[in-house]
């Protein structure tokens, strides 16, 4: 675990060594609030809750998270630093996990910086803070899921743009797995069981169930398995194709 912590610290520091961190946080905050106020109708609804704020997070993450993860491995391959990292006495999974956790903590920082809207809603009314906390947790889990997918896509290529596009596409499919857009592909030929299995993978469904304030074990388990699966795949992809 010591190596995980060392890699995590190095990665996190490198976010803040470049404009990336500041640009990401700024854009995230501006967009998250703009969507809540202008598209979500935060004031017009006249309700003291943050639903119009959280409902856009999946769509924000859909583009911002792959932008964050595209460099995770693709850049290491491109710059050759992967050769340095993979010849240090570090296990592949330690590097994968360290990088992933750094990205997740970074997203967590960006998410935490949205706290003024929480203060605002508490000042204006008396919202159900339990739901808000659950929603923050749901948003963090959703980001974690996207980050794991993005990490895997970045491990497959040395080209960051390809990693970004693959990341957006994979996140989009999993996000809407429970909706006709994805399910219609399977309808007509796949057995009902498979269709239901695909539908149950829908990130959006699980996210919405958490943001309603219901923290169910199966939703948490879903995210844990999703993250575990994609990090495992990342590890395999890196291990098999270190030098390519």
């Amino acid at each position: 675990m010591r190596n995980v912590a060392l890699i995590l610290r190095r990665e996190l520091a490198s976010y803040f060594a470049t404009p990336l961190a500041y640009v990401f946080i700024l854009i995230f905050l501006v967009l998250a609030n703009a969507f809540a106020f202008y598209v979500g109708g935060f004031f017009q609804l006249g309700q003291a809750d943050l639903r119009p704020f959280f409902m856009f997070h999946p769509w924000l993450y859909l583009f911002l998270i792959p932008a964050l993860t595209m460099k995770l491995w693709a850049e290491e391959r491109k710059s050759g630093s992967i050769e340095l990292l993979m010849t240090l006495p570090v296990k592949v999974w330690e590097a994968v996990l360290g990088k992933y956790l750094a990205a997740w903590i970074f997203t967590g920082i960006a998410l935490a910086l949205t706290f003024p809207i929480w203060l605002t809603v508490n000042y204006l009314g008396s919202p159900d803070n339990g739901v808000i906390i659950a929603s923050y947790l749901g948003s963090l889990l959703l980001a974690g899921g996207f980050l794991a997918i993005g990490s895997c896509m970045s491990a497959l290529t040395r080209n960051q743009v390809v990693a970004f596009i693959l990341g957006v596409a994979a996140c989009f499919v999993l996000l809407l797995a429970g909706y006709p857009l994805v399910l219609d592909v399977f309808r007509g030929w796949a057995p009902q069981m498979l269709i239901e299995a695909v539908a149950s993978l829908s990130l959006l469904t699980h996210f919405q169930s958490i943001t309603r304030g219901v923290l169910e074990a199966r939703d948490i388990l879903y995210f844990a398995m999703l993250i575990g699966f994609f990090l495992f795949t990342t590890t395999v992809a890196i291990d098999l194709r270190k030098a390519d």
Partner: protein, 307 residues
């Protein structure tokens, strides 16, 4: 001891390395020589456990690089080709990170960091992001990370590439100093470097080992080994001298460089021709500016074996 047995690396379109077998013992400095694309870097990457061999195996002090990679890497200081690092990091932060991963702690860590910073003259750039450094500094940062944990095995891919002559000299001195107890493998295409630091040279061409010998022994394979080179003070004697030299039974061939009025007589295999030639020069009344016995040219050997 490091050991490779029948290492092969095949890519779909090319064979990068074919049946490479060698052993290196402590105290040896092995120079890997070969034209670009000959398989030097691939071999070193397989030693470092970065590239998986198609077949064959490599081990470092008994630790197989594929089945026991962590133990193998702990003994190893590795400078990858092009000295990659994390460009956005500052030199101090980068070396700190490597030292931490290498399990250096407390006073020992400070001592080792101070040592590499001093030896590789990095003090002036410690607070600079690595990507803003010149090529020479980047290479030295790469070397610093390779030696910071004082590993028993050093594998350095082109350690002096991009350095100016003074820095090259510094790095060679450093390698020589560290070499006593260590196993050192360097790759280079600078032949003078092999003469300067290596106790042994392996020449690779098209993925195969074509020569494995001491640099001195390699030079004896040169057709210039024991050749005699003479420079005349009067250019008009050149033609006569050439004919006289070519007539000597032990002389295989004579090369002429007219502009310098220089002749080089190449001996037949095993023959010593210096005596004959100096006697000839006296009897023919040749006026010599210089008379020199050549020990052999590594670049000539290199070209002959790798062509």
């Amino acid at each position: 001891m490091i050991k490779t047995e029948h290492l092969c690396k095949h890519y779909p379109a090319v064979t990068a390395v074919e049946d490479v077998t060698f052993e290196v013992s402590p105290g040896e400095v092995l120079g890997f020589l070969g034209p670009n694309g000959a398989g030097k870097t691939t071999t070193m990457r397989m030693l470092a456990g970065f590239v998986t061999p198609t077949s064959g195996r490599a081990s470092i002090y008994g630790h197989d690089v594929e089945t026991d990679p962590l133990a193998a890497r702990q003994c190893l200081g590795y400078l990858p080709e092009g000295a990659p690092s994390y460009g956005e990091m500052r030199v101090q932060g980068f070396l700190d990170f490597i030292a931490d991963v290498r399990r250096l702690e407390g006073p020992r860590k400070r001592e080792r960091l101070n040592y590499v910073i001093e030896r590789l003259q990095l003090a002036s750039v410690l607070e600079q992001p690595i990507e803003t450094l010149s090529k020479g500094f980047k290479r030295r940062v790469g070397l610093a990370q390779a030696i910071v944990h004082d590993p028993p095995v050093l594998v350095l891919d082109e350690p002096t590439d991009g350095l100016d002559p003074n820095q090259k000299h510094e790095v060679r001195t450093l390698i020589e100093e560290m070499a006593h107890e260590k196993i050192t493998v360097i790759s280079t295409h600078i032949l003078e470097e092999v003469d300067a630091v290596c106790t042994r040279a392996i020449i690779i061409a098209r993925g195969r080992i074509v020569a494995d010998d001491t640099p001195l022994q390699l030079t004896t394979r040169s057709r210039y080994h024991n050749a005699v080179s003479l420079q005349l003070s009067r250019a008009e004697q050149l033609e006569a001298a050439r004919e006289a030299l070519a007539a000597l039974p032990a002389v295989a061939d004579v090369e002429v460089r007219e502009r310098e009025a220089r002749l080089t007589a190449l001996p037949r295999a095993g023959a010593m021709i210096l005596q004959d030639i100096s006697a000839l020069a006296a009897s023919q009344g040749l006026q010599l500016k210089e008379l020199r016995l050549e020990s052999g040219r590594l670049d000539d050997v290199f070209r002959t074996i790798t062509a």
